[in-house]
Amino acid sequence: MNKTHDTDNLLTVEDLNIVYEADGEVTKAVSGLSLSLKKGETLGLIGETGAGKTTTALGLMRLVPNPPGRVVSGKVMYEGQDLMQATEDEMRGIRGNKISMIFQDPMTSLNPVMTVGDQISEVIMIHQDVTKAESVEKSKEMLELVGIPGARAGDFPHQFSGGMKQRVVIAIALACNPNLLIADEPTTALDVTIQAQVLDLMKELKDKYNTAMIMITHDLGVVAQVCDKVAIMYAGEIVESGAIRDVYENTQHPYTKGLFGSIPNLDSDEDRLNPIKGLMPDPTNLPSGCRFHPRCPDATAICAKVKPEPVITESGHMSRCLNSLPAALDERQDDVQELKMVAGA
């Protein structure tokens, strides 16, 4: 695990653990999660539904609903401050201002009884020293920025389409020019054509303001299109992470391989997809050893017993698989072919 704090890191998360406790059952939603992000960088966080992506995002914002959720341990260093130790007042100053979040479902993430203008100007009023009139003016500018006429500031959310609503949500998120934007499946609830538009808008604005972004998605295509780095989550853990190129072209973890295998490839002449066999484990009753071993095509007897630790190459490519181990132990063997051979064995 990378223990050194890079000074140019905007965000460093170390060993984040989040559980949900209900009816005496403990659900490990996020376990030992570590990641880092530089200014302006985009990280794609990939995983199936239930892998713990949204919980991770809420955890970074300290917004995990409690009860039932609870952050057990972990460090979230943001601009040199540990957010897990910050007071609630400090967190309020950070939310919507330095770190913003875009939620999955635009249909439900806007307050139905407030005008969209009010919802944008509210965040400006909270974090910036402006008059009401100035915030109203700024909120109209924000609407224009996301491609909605400023005159519609007085309209209510139900008067907008889904794509338009997500634009409003983006306007709220970017209104205070945050350094970090967490986008939780921002396009999943939208029509395909609208998805592309919203994604383009986000990319454009992010580049314009040099905002770092964590893009949560289960869409590998979106990641390839938008992200610099990628982290793949399975059952609450990051199983593989690294630069886009490393992970896509030099896939280490069998789960990641499975994900790629379940995508149709126009270039290959395979007749059928190769979906990963089995289902996500019950998070209240996770498998021993490697959490993926019951579904893993490469699993050996030891996988059920030993919990794999993250193995990181020099280029920062991490994999949490026992089969990756020999390669990393032998530091000379950074060679891609070797790794592939070992992983495939």
């Binding site: 914002m61 967190m91 309020r92 979040m101 939620f103 993430s109 307050n111 009884v113 209510f156 709220i172």
Partner: protein, 308 residues
Amino acid sequence: MHKFIFKRLILLVPVLLGVSLLVFAIMSFTPGDPAQLILGENAPAPAVEALREEMGLNDPFIMRYANFVGNAVTGDMGRSYTTGREVATEIFDRFPNTLILAALGTIIAIVIGVPVGILSATRQYSWIDSSSMIMALLGVSMPNFWLGLMLILVFSVTLGWLPSGGFMGWSSLILPALTLGTGSAAIITRMTRSSMLEVIRQDYIRTARAKGVAENVVINKHALKNALIPVITVVGLQFGYLLGGAVLTETVYSWPGVGRMMVDAIRQKDSPTVLATVVFLATTFSLVNLSVDILYGFVDPRIKSQYA
């Protein structure tokens, strides 16, 4: 919005006609001959028959109903068999008494119910929550006529602080209004709590928190406005019930309201008065419900724009 109100008013007409028909039909089963009742048991048969003819009692049902509606529209609800007074006049004399009691009861219910409900929801599972939920459960389980008697027992009979009935100045309002308000307060508390709990788990509340909105603003501005929309309906319904269904409380406190008037009329077999009071109270109830619908349109922008 005018279109919305207009449409609602139009829809009210068939409902009111239906209500009056229903009550008229029920009351027509009342045994006994009204003409005989008016003239006394020993009246000669021809005289009774003549009065029957005069009163239109020999007409077919539909004719009698049409007459009743025709007269009612012009404010003529018939005359009481027992006092001979115009029933409509009597109702309008008494209605302010019923209205003030219902209004006070509703105010008490809102003042208690809404804050306690919010407090319960925001401190779910705390002792405040459990104790107010138990109180609310007792409140909805208590028959209000019994509560009325118990309040009289404590505050009039034992302590002698407040009058036990009738109308003797403003102090007479306190016990009946409390009696009426308790049940409604309990219902409003439960409704506010569950509505609030529903709302604070909505995505837009999470959005507000993610914007850095302070928790008390999240609750009092973002959540409350949404949570109160269904509560308004319940408050309106309760007000309607207190207006139309305060019969028992008015009886307990010998309160000179319309409900008491109805109960007295039933005892005296004064069917025009019974008919008129029931129709009147049901109409009032429907009008209150209509007002709530309209108010709803003002509070919820989604409904407003539907009719804009």
